[in-house]
């Protein structure tokens, strides 16, 4: 994770934040299990088959989905294909550099991908046009344009929103169909500061923490993907706590961003 432009956080600020956390509140006034403000503009890129512009606090990402026909993988001749790519654009933060994805971007893209893929949100079987020959390929591309922490959740909710409205043409001459959707996975990313667990960390909180964990669940209460990051550790009790927080917070997000869809 990048350091702040001014280097690391001052010691004074650190202890202030940590002290406040003990009272159950964060520097920006949120409770530990409270998300920042979420705004999602759907169909932000009309020329894409699905898209969303997500603002999670000051973090901003654009999700664009292109759906094209192509060949299936040899070992899954009856399944459509999905790929996920995250571009941490250099415009998003002073120290982000142009170039191929680094290990941070790769991890983020893979965690987002895993949540969508393992929940089987997209019904890939229905995206098979001609077994072994032609299937639909769902390209999920995400531009991170402004960075203030918690990219993973901003991306995941953007992808879920964009897929919910995405349409594709199995036949170039035929009609548009909605992308077949099974469920709505939501990821919740939490960090540990001191011994407190808090969700949706902003940049300062990411910098102060040394352990991060993401839990992705579906509306049926099932865990679909997990990923611990950073050099710190969690106790088994804390693992339990993050799973509970993930379900509770995730349900709130799902309600908020998809209320009208489901």
């Amino acid at each position: 994770m990048p350091k702040d432009a001014s280097g690391v956080l001052s010691e004074i600020k650190r202890s202030f934040i940590q002290e406040k956390l003990k009272s159950g509140f964060r520097e920006d006034g949120r409770k530990l299990d409270e998300m920042r403000k979420i705004t999602i503009d759907e169909n932000y890129v009309p020329r894409a088959q699905g898209s969303a512009f997500v603002q999670l606090g000051k973090t901003k990402v654009i999700v664009g989905i292109k759906i094209e026909s192509g060949a299936p993988f040899p070992d899954t001749p009856n399944l459509g294909v999905m790929t996920t790519n995250v571009e941490m654009l250099p415009m998003a933060f002073p120290t982000f550099e142009p170039g191929p994805p680094n290990e941070d971007s790769i991890e983020i893209a893979r965690v987002v991908d895993r949540g969508i893929r393992e929940s089987k949100m997209i019904d890939l079987e229905k995206l098979c046009i001609e077994p072994g020959k032609k299937v639909m390929i769902v390209f999920i591309d995400i531009d991170v344009i402004d960075f203030d922490g918690n990219i993973i959740d901003a991306c995941t909710m953007g992808v879920v929103k964009a897929l919910s409205f995405a349409r594709y043409k199995p036949d170039p001459e035929g009609d548009e169909l909605p992308v077949p959707i099974n469920n709505h996975p939501i990821s919740v990313t939490m960090v540990k500061i001191g011994n407190e667990i808090l969700c949706d960390p902003n940049l300062e909180e990411e910098q102060m923490s040394n352990a991060r964990i993401t839990v992705t669940m579906t509306e049926d209460g099932k865990i679909r993907a997990m990923q611990k990051g950073n050099i710190g550790s969690f106790t088994l009790g804390q693992i339990n706590e993050v799973i509970q927080m993930s379900e509770r917070v995730g349900n709130g997000i799902r309600e908020q961003i998809l209320g009208e869809v489901r």
């Binding site: 020329r47 292109k66 250099p90 415009m91 591309d141 344009i145």
Partner: protein, 246 residues
Amino acid sequence: MGTPSDKKLIDENGLRLDGRGPDELRPIRIRTDVLERADGSAMIEWGGNKIIVAVYGPREAYPKHTQDIERAVIKARYNMAAFSVDERKRPGPDRRSVEISKVISEALTAAVMVEQFPRTQIDVFIEVVQADAGTRIASLTAASVALANAGIPMKDFVVGCTAGRVEGKVVLDLSKEEDNFGQADLPMAVLQKSGEVVLIQMDGELSKEEFDSAVAMIMDATKRIHEIQRNALVEKYQNIEAGGEE
């Protein structure tokens, strides 16, 4: 289904597919301060184009051998989002975007007081979120606003526009279909006050007379476009005076 050659791009009344007259611009809208982290930013919507520009700097040029002891180096990076075009674009620079980044960098250098910041670089990151013909001059037009938004001292504004030849007629501000099936494309950018040309590229086929009339159309349009640039910045300053940034 019509093939390109079947489709009439200009009708009997001289109107274009989208209803515009020959010297009419598509709708243009510019907003500033669209990003938190960048030192300056702007977003331009120009027809179906949707482009975000962020400016960082002046900051120490890195690696060191890229420093110029006499001036700031402007490094524009034009990038198309994977989903910005009809067929998904593989991420990363291609030869086209390298060339466009170069001509944009050069055009902006003419407008910025680069002599004030030796050994530094000013990064101009351009993300084309949706592309709809004329992205390079739309990027340049927005970049100029983003530089001003970042408080970087400038001699003048860069304003760009294209003209071209479509079914034998010279028209302003080509649309995507006119660009694809037209006969010439002339993107150009000038310094607003002096009228000097800082970017010009052309491809297709133009007689000298057609070229002259295309240039005249562009010069006229840049005045209108600059108004939009100015308003975008004024709007910001008015907001600041009023004590808030929306």
